[in-house]
């Protein structure tokens, strides 16, 4: 297992854990950005350059900024997010069970014993032509979904303002 992968896997997991555990919401979004960046580097190490840079653009550039906006817009509420639910023990049991099942099945599956394949060479040109030919219909559906979702988001966020006027 390469050293770089180990380092960035640890960075990713530490960022994700900090994002969940930190009290201050702004700090936890910063930790989330660290986790997203670590995951982007892991994608690059796996040879998926396009997905790695899409991860940086979409998650760090858009989703994290959106979350910061939402935190600032709901600032008067519980900014520290300090309250932890009363059922955290049950949640811990559920999470530990899910992780145990996942790790057990990964350990026992046949895919984990195969030999490492050589790194596939994919250029952005190949990805573009695949998107335009083989995956043209899913691309159009995704475009429609994004348009509908963004119009819906604007409608939901605007509605209460109109009623208040």
């Amino acid at each position: 297992m390469p050293l770089l992968f180990t380092i960035f896997a640890i960075v990713t997991v530490a960022g994700a854990a900090a994002a969940i555990c930190l009290r201050n919401l702004v700090h936890s979004v910063l930790a989330l950005i660290v986790a997203f960046a670590g995951l982007a580097v892991v994608y690059l190490l796996l040879g998926a350059q396009f997905v790695g840079f899409a991860q940086v653009l979409v998650y760090i550039g858009a989703v994290a900024i959106l979350i910061v906006f939402a935190i600032l817009l709901t600032r008067n509420s519980d900014i520290t997010g300090a309250r932890i639910g009363g059922s955290w023990a049950w949640s811990g049991v559920v999470v530990a069970g899910v992780f145990a099942v996942l790790a057990w099945s990964i350990h026992n599956s046949s895919v984990s014993h195969g030999a490492a394949a050589p790194q596939p060479a994919t250029s952005t040109q190949q990805i573009g032509s695949a998107l335009m030919q083989q995956f043209a219909l899913p691309l159009e559906v995704i475009g429609l979904l994004l348009t509908a979702a963004l119009i819906g988001a604007v409608t939901i966020a605007l509605r209460e303002q109109k009623e208040a006027r």
Partner: protein
């Protein structure tokens, strides 16, 4: 440990952390952060199986990850709009206080 196993274990760990965040924390924005982490874990699985799978030239795993990222972006936009709308309505971002359908 093969590289595929390492990727899958990292993905399982990320999924467990995201699930813990979605279940334990009561602030709705942190619940959304947990859901984003779980989606990222699924994306990492797609990329890992694309990289170490039998037929990486077909690009299907990578395409699935790209489409999954687009769907996650739409989900984040709608989720945050819902959170802002709920906050305007209830003056709170705590999901325990969202307990009625009619407001």
């Amino acid at each position: 440990m093969t590289p595929l196993t390492a990727c899958l274990l990292l993905s399982a760990l990320l999924f467990a952390i995201g699930l813990a965040g979605a279940l334990v924390r009561r602030n709705s924005i942190l619940v959304l952060i947990g859901i984003e982490l779980m989606l990222n874990a699924a994306n990492l699985n797609f990329i890992a199986f694309w990289r170490y799978g039998p037929n990486p030239e077909a690009l299907t795993g990578m395409m699935f990850a790209v489409f999954s990222i687009a769907v996650a972006a739409a989900e984040a936009a709608v989720g945050l709009a819902l959170i802002i709308s709920l906050y305007r309505h209830l003056k709170s971002a705590n999901i325990d206080e969202v307990n009625s359908m009619s407001g």
